[in-house]
């Protein structure tokens, strides 16, 4: 089995959700991840904090962001084990992140540390 990273892209991280809504998403996320782990296909994952983020630019200037010009932001990632990228993509379909209109999950195979990739 190969490892794949599911990267959550939120269309608009500034949208404020109600505490009840957040709680529902929390449960859905935990159940989704728990379901992957129950298949012994969970490797790791984390959420990314929205507040107090910085962007370091090409000229090494540092700005607050990423929420200046672009609205889209990374929300977090989960690494899964799967036999193919299609299977990993199928797993991603269960994530509640996709309930937000415009949100996407990018599925990428992890390069192995074998010096070739």
């Amino acid at each position: 089995m190969e490892e794949f990273m599911l990267i959550f892209r939120h269309m608009d991280g500034q949208k404020v959700a109600s505490p009840e809504q957040i709680q529902t998403w929390m449960k859905q996320t935990m159940d989704w991840v728990g379901g992957i782990a129950a298949q012994n296909k969970f490797v790791g994952g984390n959420g990314l904090q929205y507040e107090n983020a910085k962007i370091v630019h090409h000229d090494k200037t540092v700005t607050n962001g990423p929420f200046g010009e672009i609205k889209e932001t990374l929300g977090g990632y989960v690494i899964v084990k799967a036999n193919s990228i299609d299977e990993a993509a199928e797993m991603a379909k269960g994530s509640p992140v996709l309930q937000g209109e415009g949100n996407t999950i990018e599925v990428r195979k992890l390069a192995k540390g074998d010096g070739v990739h």
Binding site: D31, V33, G34, G35, A38, Q39
Partner: protein, 408 residues
């Protein structure tokens, strides 16, 4: 207590103490000498007490005899100078002044040190459990064979190999240093956890023996708690054991048949063990690390509340979600899916269960049978029948057969 009951009783409680203290004294290389002396001590008791009656203080008698035998052993065979001495660090041991300290303090210190020696990472888990039962719990070879569902020969060979390994590795009998303890503790806790499970889930018919295995695992875990170098994880493990053990009386019927959790009489649950479990769980919550024992103890705690509430199953589900991320096991995956059916409904749980594909595991089909019940009784029955074909123990067979006949 009459003599025929007293000696086995003392054997169980004192053999391990004498062995630990002597073994610590002689060094791990001579673990068999320690066992032999402890064994001979009980033989002497059997011979002597039959003629002279039981002494006023049988334990003190045993200790005195063990001490003498140990001293004789040292001088008589010149063993000390020829065999032990080269292995000892001290250059000039004076055996005539050797004092064997069988005080409570030294007994519990020695047992704790032996626990770390027996759970040495160089040994396989099987060997650790076998040795723990023999050296730390004072089980006879036959008892170990019964508890582990194998024969005396296998156990004898296993123990011999394990002792040889300890000898070759020259494993020190000590509590590891502060720096090393957390790493070593991991193996010790896992062995104790497996030792408990061996008793709790064993397919052996000897109910008393199985209970003893569990109680011994709890006693050894408590020994660790008394050592203040150990950590919250130990409390979490003991908490888990208490919660499980609280259902001992309730989970088997009069004819030894298995009574499922749902059908248990909660009046038979041991309230004292439940409240002890809660106490240890409370102590386990110090510190920031959440181990698998913490998660399992919490799950076990919620099982001590019989009422089928949404809150109960939601909490259990989330603990299982976390447990599986920390460490996968098929049994956790199955239980998690069962909890999911209680919170999110059977339809969703069926979809999740089908993904597990644990097709060699009879309990996978028990779960599917359970989930399909009332949703699709034909499928439910098919799954229970698959489970029946895979299951090994008679107790489980009876339970599943009943489920099938209930569906007809």
């Amino acid at each position: 207590m009459a003599q025929q009951e007293l000696i086995p009783h003392l054997f169980r409680t004192e053999f391990r103490k004498i062995t630990s203290v002597l073994c610590k004294h002689f060094g791990i290389a001579h673990i068999e000498i320690a066992e032999d002396i402890a064994g001979e001590t009980f033989l002497s008791a059997l011979e002597n007490w039959s003629f002279k009656g039981i002494p006023d203080n049988p334990t003190a008698w045993l200790y005195a005899v063990a001490k003498n035998k140990a001293k004789n052993q040292l001088s008589r065979n010149k063993l000390f100078s020829e065999k032990i001495s080269p292995h000892l660090k001290q250059a000039t041991p004076v055996y005539s002044e050797t004092e064997f300290d069988l005080s409570d303090k030294n007994i519990s210190d020695s047992q704790l040190q032996m626990l770390f020696a027996v759970c040495h990472p160089s040994l396989s888990t099987e060997a650790q459990i076998g040795l723990a039962l023999r050296i730390l719990c004072g089980f006879g070879i036959e008892e170990i064979a019964t508890a582990l569902l194998t024969n005396k020969d296998t156990i004898n060979k296993r123990l011999l190999r394990a002792k040889e390994k300890l000898r070759n590795e020259n494993v020190p009998i000590e509590v590891p240093s502060k720096e090393e303890i957390s790493k070593r503790l991991e193996t010790v806790l896992l062995t104790l956890y497996l030792l408990f499970n061996e008793g709790y889930y064993s397919e052996s018919n000897d109910e008393v023996l199985r209970k003893d295995v569990c109680l011994e695992a709890m006693r050894l875990t408590y020994l660790l708690i008394e050592n203040d170098q150990t950590n919250p994880e130990v409390n979490a493990l003991l908490s888990l054991m208490c919660f499980h053990a609280s259902r001992f009386e309730a989970r088997t019927g009069k004819r030894g048949e298995l009574i499922l959790y749902e059908d248990q009489d909660e009046n038979l649950w041991n309230k004292e063990l439940i409240s002890k479990g809660a106490l240890f769980l409370n102590q386990a919550s110090q510190g920031s690390k959440i181990s698998k024992y913490h998660l399992e103890a919490n799950i076990a705690y919620w099982h001590t509340i019989k009422a089928d509430t949404k809150e109960k199953w939601e909490t259990i589900l989330q603990f299982f979600n976390r447990l599986l991320q920390l460490e996968y096991s098929p049994i956790a995956a199955l239980n998690r899916t069962y909890a999911l059916s209680k919170t999110n409904g059977k339809q969703e749980a069926i979809i999740e269960a089908e993904k597990l594909q644990l097709t060699n595991n009879p309990y996978y089909f028990v779960l599917l049978g359970e989930l399909y019940e009332e949703v699709d009784n034909k499928k439910s029955k098919e799954h229970f029948e698959k489970a029946l074909a895979l299951i090994k123990t008679n107790a489980d067979k009876t339970v599943i057969s009943k489920r099938i006949s209930d569906l007809n």
